[in-house]
Subunit: 290 residues, 2 copies
């Protein structure tokens, strides 16, 4: 079994981004974060992303709204960010409180600044395989992990477990696209005999959001396993009272796998790194095309 070291690969990406950012001076790529409420996981993700932006020489700003913010107030802020020529990327940290229509809010971000890749225009361009589509950071990170780990994709059978808008579907679309050329199966909670499907995977992408859901009998020996899950499970031995585990039962599956990502330290750091890559790309495009 080979461990796919997401921290190390993310660091490669960040080193490349940092070098490109330095060349842009005096322009400084600027990613504007928007957070609604005080969900601890959201606070922690945004803090991590801001810190990484600092490290690569980007500017990161943050606007925090209270849990009960109105849609009008949120849109007024997004519209101002869309119009601000010094803002290159906008990221609204998901999940949003239930009273806000998440997809509509994502769609309010200007396509040119949609570094999270959740807007209609970004997703449509991904399906159309047009150059310059912002792919969502997590699925883009999954592809980059495969690529930089030397995993062959053409003609391989990739099984994506989970059909979410922010991971499962875009991951499937990237894997089926020309260049990747996988055969792709998308399975989900309604799939009959899931294990029979996942056992076919040469490349298994777990994005279900259920701790340790993928067991050894669901994995073909020799498969490459990418674990997108970030689940908090209670753990009295931790100061925080919880620990983070993936969707894959790592200890059981790792001995079978040709390669596997750990959680934490797999896809997570790649998500952050691809956000920096997308923000740099947004800045370059806005600079070149107005």
């Amino acid at each position: 079994m080979g461990l796919i070291d997401g921290n190390a690969i993310a660091q490669q990406v960040l080193t490349e981004v940092k070098a490109e950012v330095a060349k842009l001076a005096p322009t400084i790529p600027h990613v504007a974060f928007v957070r609604v409420g005080e969900d601890p996981a959201s606070v922690s993700y945004v803090t991590k992303k801001q810190k990484t932006a600092d490290e690569v020489g980007m500017r990161a700003s943050l606007k925090v709204f209270p849990e009960n913010v109105s849609l009008a107030e949120l849109y007024a802020h997004l519209d101002a960010l869309n119009a601000d020529p010094d803002v290159h990327g906008i990221l609204i940290q998901a999940p949003l409180p239930k009273h806000l229509p998440e997809t509509e809010v994502f769609n309010r971000v200007s396509p040119a600044k949609d570094v999270d890749g959740f807007g209609t225009q970004s997703i449509g361009r991904l399906v159309q395989e047009l150059p310059g589509a912002f792919a969502a950071c997590t699925p883009r990170g999954v592809i980059e992990l495969l690529r930089r780990s030397g995993v062959q994709t053409a003609g391989k059978h990739a099984v994506v477990v989970g059909r979410s808008l922010i991971v499962g579907k875009p991951a499937a679309l990237l894997l089926i696209a020309k260049g990747c050329d996988c055969t792709v199966t998308i399975a989900h909670s309604r799939t009959a005999d899931l294990a029979a499907i996942t056992r076919q995977a040469d490349i298994l992408i777990a994005a279900i959001g259920k701790p340790h859901f993928i067991k050894a009998d669901m994995v073909k020996p020799g498969a490459v396993v990418i674990d997108v899950g970030i689940n908090r499970v209670a753990d009295a031995t931790k100061k925080t009272g919880y620990r983070i585990v993936g969707d894959v039962d790592f200890d059981a599956v790792a001995p079978l796998a040709a390669a596997i990502t750990p959680v934490p330290g797999g896809v997570g750091p790649m998500t952050v790194a691809m956000l920096m890559r997308n923000t740099l790309d947004a800045c370059l495009r806005i600079r070149n095309h107005g």
Copy 2:
């Protein structure tokens, strides 16, 4: 084996559309066709669509450009159609001549009038499962055939052979969406051991564009087989010198299948019927929302 009669099901749809169109008077839904060049298949498709529009009480107009039309000239016409309040749907007949960037041309159509569903906005909304997305007519027709034939989809394994922007990908996106809830595999020309994949299909969608490509040994007994192929093969016994065959070897596969669409008379008429449905929907939306 049950024959899925695309002509009869399309007629149901058209009867419903006609009744709704009659209620809209004095408004007349208007679909504007744009054809470039004289490709015989394109001429025949557009003529068929115009004729059907007439039958359901819609207005159909047609602008034909010569093969060597410039992009600027084509865009000027599309912009005029986009701006014309009396035009509700716009359809650019594919394929376009090689010198024209097909996806960019599709994207020039206003999302509100994109009844062919090929634009970025339409496809993005399909992925986002937002209400009111125009799904491309052929994949929408496939889903409608399944639905009106009483084929259960939830938890079934659908295999789509072909990853085109106009059939394979949108069909897969519709099948995976909530409501359909299939497990979906997308296979294509780069797929290793295609027969092993297609034999798993409870619902097999053939959209490869190769005559009689799907043979009996590629189909699981009891599968529902939907043949999207429309291929011309030489036939000296025909006045035209050719006949139309599907992507499925019908005579060999039909005895195995629980249900199967013929070619012609399967998906083809549904494509035309769904275009009328989309145009009516476009007209209703433009009328209701300006």
